[in-house]
């Protein structure tokens, strides 16, 4: 008979350990919450790390104003059900204050603009640790990221001069004004996250599952035509397709994939069989080969 033992999933155990290090080493941590599957997974892991106590830090959403409505609904429900504290800061406010300028044209997106809003919020609340759901398998610059990644006073990442991270030991010592970005699921792959959501029966927004949506094609990718924020040329024809989203970011830069996967089991199977990476559907990374590295240097998530 199997002994009644604690989790043997090394990735889960590692993430819980990291969460507890954050709570112990920092005074004002915050969990950056986007409403996507990775940050929803983070919330479950944080619950596990601190149960039966509540998660000892707030969630913060940097809202581009271009989110899928399903994501926002989901966010508000989750926060209520788990009795969490949620801080929302809006990119629109940064635009109104003249701190950033809205992009224009066919590929306009508020994705890059988020950085300013994020850095301002970090300063406003004096956060010293920002927990994020980035994974090393997502992108090649992220593959270089530490679990505790120090950002200077300007929120910048010095990628060529990172602190060595040895064994399980996480060094969170920083100076006033610096902050640390923490990535508890650094070592998870996309499939690990989906398998975990399946096993834990974690609820996620409906846009991750197959649905019928008005869409149009551009650059070989499928875009939502439902909403005004996604720029569409007159000759880009709208057609109803059965799609789902594999990653959920700003609507203006997240493309859908054709899929009939309508529940978690079929989604996991689809990811398992997939021959394209999830970032293949994000136009923000296609801007240039070093797009992510550049954004990270400037203080992006």
């Amino acid at each position: 008979m199997m002994k009644n033992t604690a989790s043997i999933n090394p990735l889960e155990n590692e993430a819980i350990y990291i969460f507890r290090e954050v709570a112990a080493q920092f005074e004002r941590p915050v969990l950056l919450f986007s409403g996507g599957k990775d940050s929803i997974t983070l919330v479950r892991l944080a619950q596990k790390a601190f149960y039966p106590a509540k998660i000892p830090f707030p969630l913060m959403h940097i809202d581009t104003g271009h989110n899928f409505p399903e994501t926002i609904e989901f966010r508000d429900r989750l926060v209520k059900e788990l009795d969490l504290e949620l801080i929302v800061r809006n990119v629109q406010d940064s635009i109104n204050e003249g701190k950033v300028k809205e992009e224009s044209g066919k590929y306009a997106s508020r994705n890059v603009l988020q950085t300013t809003t994020l850095l301002d919020a970090i300063e406003e609340f004096k956060f010293d640790a920002c927990i994020g759901g980035a994974r090393r398998d997502e992108e090649k610059a992220r593959a270089k990221e530490r679990i505790f990644s120090v950002r200077d006073d300007f929120g910048q990442w010095d990628e060529k001069n990172q602190r060595p991270e040895l064994f399980d030991m996480l060094n969170g010592q920083i100076e006033l004004g610096q902050n640390v970005r923490v990535f508890p699921i650094s070592n998870w792959t996309e499939l690990d996250v989906w398998s975990y959501i399946q096993k834990e029966q974690i609820e996620i927004p409906s846009i991750y599952f197959a649905h019928t949506r008005a869409t149009f094609l551009r650059d070989g990718l499928i875009w939502s035509a439902d909403d005004a924020v996604v720029y569409r040329e007159k000759d880009e024809e709208v057609e109803e397709r059965v799609v789902r989203f594999r990653t959920v970011g700003d609507m203006s830069c997240t493309a859908a994939v054709l899929s009939g996967a309508s529940d978690i089991n079929t989604v996991v199977q689809e990811i398992r069989d997939s021959t394209i990476s999830e970032r293949g559907a994000r136009i923000d990374d296609k801007r240039s080969e070093a797009a992510m590295e550049k954004r990270k240097q400037q203080g992006y998530f």
Binding site: Y17, A24, A53, E139, K140, P164, Q173, I276, S277, A290
Partner: protein
């Protein structure tokens, strides 16, 4: 599923990044968009083959200079296992990154360029793998295509390496040799027709055969308390639980334990994992423990089994891998982070530098500079609870933090 962490080692240009790219490609782990990016870039650079190192060299500076500067973590899986490979830099000045990559790994692949054979860097890298007590080392003799897949060459390099093996102090390593061409794919995932004289396993077969259970020592549970959980809700009014990760062996409800440093005896009352109560916390699980008695415990304290105590002392001697541009000298003070415990430490004495080439010449020095390895003794302001690194990987290792720069400036392995 089992997760196996592997570090690569080898001199610059020996083909580490290419080998990892090849592993990804031949196990069909490269998604079509990533593969396209590699094809495009290879064409741009004017190559008539696919440069798989582009899959791992993720920084602009790395691609421009064609070298690996910092550790990248690469993921792939087979039906048996998930793999995390640390692609480490080969330059001498990045030795600290090598130590870093190896510290979290359970196995290592050491690359040797078949044209060059065993060189000084091979010595150094094998030495580090030995120092860190990496249980499984696979020596991949690469670029066999450039030496006409010569059996003679392969055997000569193999016997040179075996000469190194006799000098190491950690004899309990499993070492195997594979002739490969990372660029062409021979014996990486697919068996090569160019090496009919080789009947051993391919690199991947070797990796698949590694048993994770061998790796973490069993029998000596150590539970460093990370965080004290006190919910103060109505339902859990008097609840006081100790959060942490179990290292070395398992802990069970009813175990007689001692809390360090107070030496207070108690018994494990409950073990929680999230909302479940469990009987046993297996090695490397992150759990929450409650005790029968009301003991005053805070972060950095350690719960251990009564009959199995670590050394409790305010001084120790350790092998140090120095990683900072400022020298370590006797009398300097650092923060020692031993697991989750932090104490102040003063360098008592630098005994000698260790030449990581097995030459046996240990120089007496006054200062350690970056990438040096040495035996150093420390005095602490408070006792820590440690084991020798050779009997306990986790509880025998620590990092040194410079309290001015806050940087991690060294790693240590307690003797």
């Amino acid at each position: 599923m089992d997760v196996l962490k592997i570090a690569t080692a080898g001199s610059v240009d020996d083909g580490k990044s290419t080998l990892i790219g090849r592993l990804l490609y031949d196990t069909k782990s490269l998604t079509s968009d990533k593969l396209e990016a590699i094809e495009t870039k290879s064409r741009q650079l004017g190559y008539d083959y696919l440069d798989f190192s582009l899959a791992t060299d993720g920084l602009v500076a790395e691609r421009e200079q064609g070298i690996t500067i910092d550790v990248a973590h690469i993921y792939f899986s087979t039906v048996n296992k998930s793999y995390i490979i640390a692609d480490t830099p080969g330059h001498v000045e990045y030795t600290r990154n090598m130590v870093t990559g190896a510290s979290t790994s359970q196995a290592a692949i050491v690359l040797i360029d078949a044209r060059k054979g065993v060189i000084e860097q091979t010595n150094r890298h094998f030495f580090i793998n030995n120092l860190l007590r990496i249980k499984t080392v696979i020596v991949a003799i690469n670029k066999m295509d450039l030496v006409d897949f010569s059996e003679e060459k392969y055997n000569a390099i193999k016997s040179d390496f075996e000469a190194l093996m006799s000098k190491r102090d950690y004899q309990n390593q499993n070492i195997s040799f594979v002739p490969v061409s990372a660029l062409k794919g021979d014996n990486v995932v697919n068996r090569s027709e160019n090496t009919p004289w080789y009947d051993g396993e391919t690199l991947l077969e070797n990796l698949e055969g590694i048993n994770n259970e061998d790796i973490y020592n069993v029998g000596t549970p150590r539970f460093p308390v990370q965080y004290v959980i006190r919910p103060k809700t109505e339902e859990f009014h008097d609840f006081r639980g100790y959060a942490g990760k179990v290292y070395g062996g398992e802990l069970s409800v009813g175990d007689d334990v001692v809390v360090l440093p107070s030496q207070t005896k108690s018994k494990i009352k409950e073990i929680h994992f999230y909302d479940k109560k469990v009987e046993t916390a297996s090695r490397r699980s992150s759990v929450l423990i409650t005790l029968e008695d009301d003991v005053n415990i805070s972060r950095g304290d350690m719960i251990v089994k009564e009959n199995d105590l670590p050394t409790v002392d305010k001084q120790f001697t350790a092998t140090i891998s120095w990683m900072d541009s400022q020298d370590l000298t006797a009398g300097k003070k650092y923060v020692v982070q031993h697991g989750v415990n932090k104490v102040l430490a003063k360098v008592d004495q630098i005994h000698h530098k260790i030449n990581p080439d097995y030459s046996g010449i240990d120089e007496a020095v006054n200062a350690l500079s970056m990438n040096d390895i040495a035996t150093v003794s420390f005095k602490l302001n408070k006792p820590i609870f440690y084991d020798a690194f050779k009997s306990h990987r986790t509880n025998g290792s620590f990092i040194l933090i410079d309290s001015q720069s806050n940087n991690t400036v060294g790693a240590g392995f307690i003797q």
